[in-house]
């Protein structure tokens, strides 16, 4: 009996191994997966740990993720401590030495990103809320950074799979030109908000807003990771009135209650837009995601 089951497992393992021709890439977030899919084309199987509907800050290590990591040839993360609560337990449990930090199979795409909102090291304290010592990790929402990340992914894929290195570079270059092309439209659509102020829920829109010249006046969260308090909402309402703010921008996983309270007092418009691909049927890939954010902000 045991022998028979053993043979069955071996058989299944052999089936799994026959897919081995393709690179197996696992990304921590779905936007990274979307960019990797564009860069790799048919040459890799790409999957994301975080679905677009999950906040990557608060994921929990699970057997499912261990199973994904176990077979990965390349692990791509956002970095800057975004995945700090669950990444290492997943990698440790997967027993996959190829993807440990520092290995060729582990890519941190934040390495060459121009980081924003790096807290002053002399004043850094947990009292500041959920701040990241290396800066704000939500950089991929800026399409210019997506180009940079596509380049990094192409380079790493090329190192792991040298015979297709050129294809990866070409795909990344094509992605970059596509972004440049789309950027013209995004900029002109966003022109109406250029120089204007908005309120966001969490500090996850910083890079996007900077790219399009939008000023973030205040967040609904009093400090990153701390839900809105009545006292803080009073401040938000005052700021909205004083700066004549028209928009509150937030991700779908946050409740709109706090925003609604501000809207009732001030008439500000609540815009719910995803920051990750796959969380909305209209945000199927990275470019569609930016399209959707721009559309929601300007409709």
């Amino acid at each position: 009996m045991f022998k028979k089951t053993g043979m069955l497992w071996l058989g299944l393992a052999a089936t799994a191994a026959s897919y081995a021709g393709k690179l197996n890439v696992v990304t921590t977030t779905s936007d990274l997966a979307s960019i990797t899919e564009v860069v790799a084309g048919d040459l890799a199987k790409v999957s994301s740990i975080c679905s677009g509907n999950q906040d990557p800050h608060h994921l929990q290590a699970r057997p499912k993720y261990v199973m994904m990591a176990r077979k990965a040839d390349l692990w791509i993360r956002i970095g800057m401590e975004l995945e700090i609560g669950w990444e290492m337990p997943v990698i440790d449990s997967s027993r996959n030495r190829k993807i440990r930090p520092g290995s060729p199979g582990h890519l941190d795409t934040s390495k060459n990103i121009k980081k924003r909102a790096i807290p002053d090291a002399n004043q850094l304290s947990r009292a500041m809320g959920d701040v990241h010592a290396q800066g704000n990790p939500h950089y991929l929402i800026d399409p210019e950074n997506a180009k940079q990340v596509a380049g990094e992914i192409a380079e790493r894929l090329g190192e792991l799979d040298p015979k297709n290195a050129e294809t990866y570079q070409e795909n990344a270059a094509a992605f970059s030109s596509k972004i440049d092309e789309k950027m013209v439209g995004w900029k002109s659509a966003m022109a109406e908000l250029d120089g204007k102020s908005v309120v966001t829920y969490h500090k996850s829109w910083l890079y996007f807003c900077e790219q399009f010249g939008v000023h973030i006046a205040i967040e609904l969260e009093p400090k990153p990771g701390i839900p809105p308090s009545p006292k803080h909402l009073t401040r938000v309402i005052q700021t909205v009135a004083a700066e004549d703010i028209k928009i509150i921008l937030q991700e779908p996983w946050y409740s709109t209650k706090a925003a609604q309270r501000v809207a009732d007092k001030t008439g500000v418009r609540i815009v719910t837009a995803p920051t990750y691909t796959g969380s909305d049927p209209e945000a199927g890939d990275y470019i569609a995601l930016i399209d959707l954010i721009v559309k929601r902000l300007t409709e």
Binding site: P63, W86, D130, G213
Partner: protein
């Protein structure tokens, strides 16, 4: 015209962006890999301290921790090993559980290591000190040192990670307040199956304050270590997007000694204690912010059996007890969770001595808790428990317990296993 306009806009935007970034660069120090603080911290171990304290009140006459030593079938031969800090010995009023200092880092290309030192008012104890391989092939992983056995679900968790302020009765009564925490080695294997299937084998020295005791007496043999073996398997059969179910089976067997002082005489016993059981955990991730809507249900069943022979005589002592708990927590509001726990011990509860088998009754406890996590680093918990404890000849006593627990952690951001 329109095209020209947008080109100008892009140009202006780019210039603005360059300007902004130039300003940004002049104000903010950008840490590089040569930056002394970040480079150093990369080589230093991650350090954290966890402080766990509580206000406790229970209404029994002789003290619940004393009563637990007397629970029919589970007590009687309690060996008060002088443990430096005892989670079980709760006093009415303020209690400082202990401070856990944790250091962890990659040792080199081959190992990662962790040391966890528990400091209490009574002294210092090494809770964990181990190294684990990071590069074994074919899904193997080996660990050596002092660590919590990974059998079942709750045993491997530190006290501050429990969803309730105290551990399940069956664990406390069978393995003591530390659970199964011992010196030894562990080898585990993640099978190359399409579902998550993890096998583990552990060999321990066999020092446990309750189930694996080696007495110091000339009449008893000195059994060489290692004296305890543990085996377990965990299976996560489904890969849902938002939830996960993990099932487990476990068993262990090791050497145990007892000294019985009865009727003026002293009898010495040496033999085998074994246990076996099953565990199940289900977790649901709602995807909402701050843990709202998240749910966890977990349950464990534990059966133990004792077989001892008299040294210098032909008496035998044997016994069997069991117990289970089932608990659930739910995120009722952002950052607030509530939980319920039901548990019973002694569904099987018998002890045979001098060919006379005694049957004992069962005990139960029900608990409700509410906790609030202002951030990932702090927690306030309120818990109320009520239970009936079967004390054998002294009858059954009902006891209420209440906790207000405060846990906070400073230092490195922790990462938790499933």
């Amino acid at each position: 015209m329109k095209h020209l306009n947008s080109t100008a806009m892009v140009l202006a935007g780019t210039l603005l962006a360059i300007n902004v970034s130039a300003l940004e660069a002049s104000n903010t120090p950008v840490p590089t890999h040569t930056d002394s603080t970040s480079a150093l911290s990369a080589f230093n171990p991650a350090v954290s301290a966890i402080v766990d304290m509580y206000f406790y009140h229970e209404d029994s006459e002789e003290g619940l921790s004393h009563m637990k030593e007397e629970i029919a079938g589970f007590g009687g031969h309690g060996h008060d090993d002088e443990h430096d800090h005892d989670h079980g010995g709760k006093e009415n009023g303020f209690n400082l559980n202990h401070i856990e200092l944790t250091f962890s880092a990659e040792v080199d290309n081959y190992f990662k290591a962790l040391a966890n030192v528990a400091i209490s008012e009574d002294g210092v104890e090494i809770e964990e000190a181990w190294a684990e391989t990071t590069g074994l092939p074919w899904g193997f992983q080996a660990k050596a040192g002092k660590f919590f056995s990974n059998f079942g679900y709750i045993n491997a968790q530190h006290a501050h990670a429990w969803d309730f302020s105290d551990q399940p009765l069956i664990y406390e009564l069978s393995l003591g307040s530390h659970g199964l925490n011992d010196k030894g080695v562990q080898l585990s294997w993640l099978a190359p199956t399409p579902v998550y299937l993890l096998f583990g084998a552990e060999i321990f020295q066999g020092d446990n304050e309750r189930m694996y005791v080696q007495e110091e007496a000339d009449e008893l043999p000195e059994n060489d270590g290692p004296r305890l073996g543990v085996g377990w398997v965990k299976l996560a059969p489904f890969q849902f997007e938002k939830s996960e179910l993990q099932l487990g089976l476990f068993g262990a067997s090791g050497s145990h000694q007892e000294i019985h002082e009865e009727g003026g005489g002293t009898n010495y016993f040496d033999g085998v204690n074994w246990f076996a059981g099953a565990d199940a955990v289900y977790k649901f991730d709602s995807g909402k912010a701050y843990g709202q809507g998240d749910a966890v249900v977990q349950a464990e069943y534990f059966y133990r059996n004792k077989d001892l022979d008299q040294e210098g005589g032909d008496e035998e002592v044997s016994g069997a007890q069991d117990g289970y708990y089932i608990q659930g927590t739910y995120g009722i509001l952002p950052r607030w969770r509530t939980g319920l726990r039901w548990e019973q011990v002694g569904l099987t509860n018998e002890e045979t001595e001098e060919n006379v088998t005694e049957e004992f009754g069962k005990s139960w406890r029900a608990s409700a808790m509410l906790d609030f996590r202002p951030s990932e680093f702090s927690q306030v918990r309120f818990q109320v428990s009520n239970g009936d404890y079967d004390l054998g000849d002294e009858g059954v006593e009902n006891v209420w317990e209440a906790f207000v627990q405060l846990t906070f952690s400073i230092g490195a951001h922790g990462a938790h296993n499933f």
